[in-house]
């Protein structure tokens, strides 16, 4: 697996105030890459959920900690699509402890990880080399997720 430079790297502070900018970035990019409007919306949602989880769980709602997001416009196999990593410098935890819950038991909360896994082809949590956690998300651009033509969304 070659490791080219991400096409976009962003560092934002862990204030929920900045989530709108981050998800709109992802929405604008995915539409431009050729993902369908609704698929782009779901990808932006998944990224938003992942960032919100870093703020809520990784940083326990501290507003001034760094979050890094890197975006590649190819899957690790070199196919058109997205590879997105989200990294923090929060306490390292067991990646297996981050999991979605049974949705049949309806209750407030506990939907984020489910959304991320449902939307993405692949979502892997791991400890970073030094400090913090890394989430890697992969989403291929398949004919199903592609629009034949770009349409404006007003």
């Amino acid at each position: 697996m070659s490791d080219p430079k991400p096409v976009i790297e962003i560092r934002l502070l862990s204030d929920p105030m900045y989530l709108a900018g981050a998800r709109e970035l992802v929405l604008g990019l995915t539409r431009r890459l050729g993902f369908k409007q609704d698929e782009s919306g779901r990808i932006a949602l998944a990224v938003d959920e992942a960032l919100a989880n870093v703020i809520n769980h990784g940083y326990a709602r501290a507003l001034d900690r760094p979050i890094w997001m890197s975006i590649w416009t190819q899957t690790p196999e070199g196919l058109p699509g997205l590879r997105i990593t989200i990294e923090d410098e929060a306490k390292q935890i067991d990646p297996d402890s981050i999991c979605g819950r049974d949705l049949d038991d309806v209750k407030p909360g506990g939907l984020g990880v489910h959304i991320i896994r449902e939307v993405m082809d692949k979502a892997v949590y791991e400890r970073r080399e030094s400090v913090g956690m890394r989430l890697t998300m992969i989403k291929a651009l398949t004919p199903k997720s592609t629009h034949a033509r770009e349409h404006a969304n007003g």
Binding site: A20, R42, P108, L111
Partner: protein, 115 residues
């Protein structure tokens, strides 16, 4: 100057029902505002609580959690909770969360008043 944290929620009461109409993105930074309004509305013990979502272009799971909690609160006071006028983007998160059957979702306020 406006507080940038503001989410506008317009209130209406009609035939014993309370209709809440939030406008803006309901995400991690904004869902507490909606939660507050819902709790206030439930406090008045309406027979029906309608949340009109045509002005909401985006909702994340914290917004959905707020509405699940609203459903629980409504049941406690025997009120009927109905969502209506969801944009496609907002409807999509209810589908992903498999909550599109859990909630009563209508096309518009008039339908929501009958549901």
């Amino acid at each position: 100057m406006a507080s940038p944290n503001e989410l506008e929620v317009v209130w209406e009461t009609r035939d014993g029902a309370t209709i809440l109409k939030p406008a803006g993105d309901i995400d991690l930074s904004r869902s507490p505002v909606l939660r507050n309004d819902i709790r206030k509305a439930i406090g008045d013990k309406p027979g029906r609580l309608v949340i009109e979502l045509s002005g909401v272009s985006y909702m994340d799971s914290s917004g959905v959690a707020t509405l699940v909690e609203a459903m629980q609160l409504a049941r406690k006071i025997n009120a009927k909770l109905v969502l209506c006028a969801l944009t496609d983007r907002v409807h999509s998160i209810f589908e992903i969360a498999r909550l599109d059957q859990f909630f009563t979702i209508c096309a518009d306020v008039n339908e929501a008043m009958e549901a």
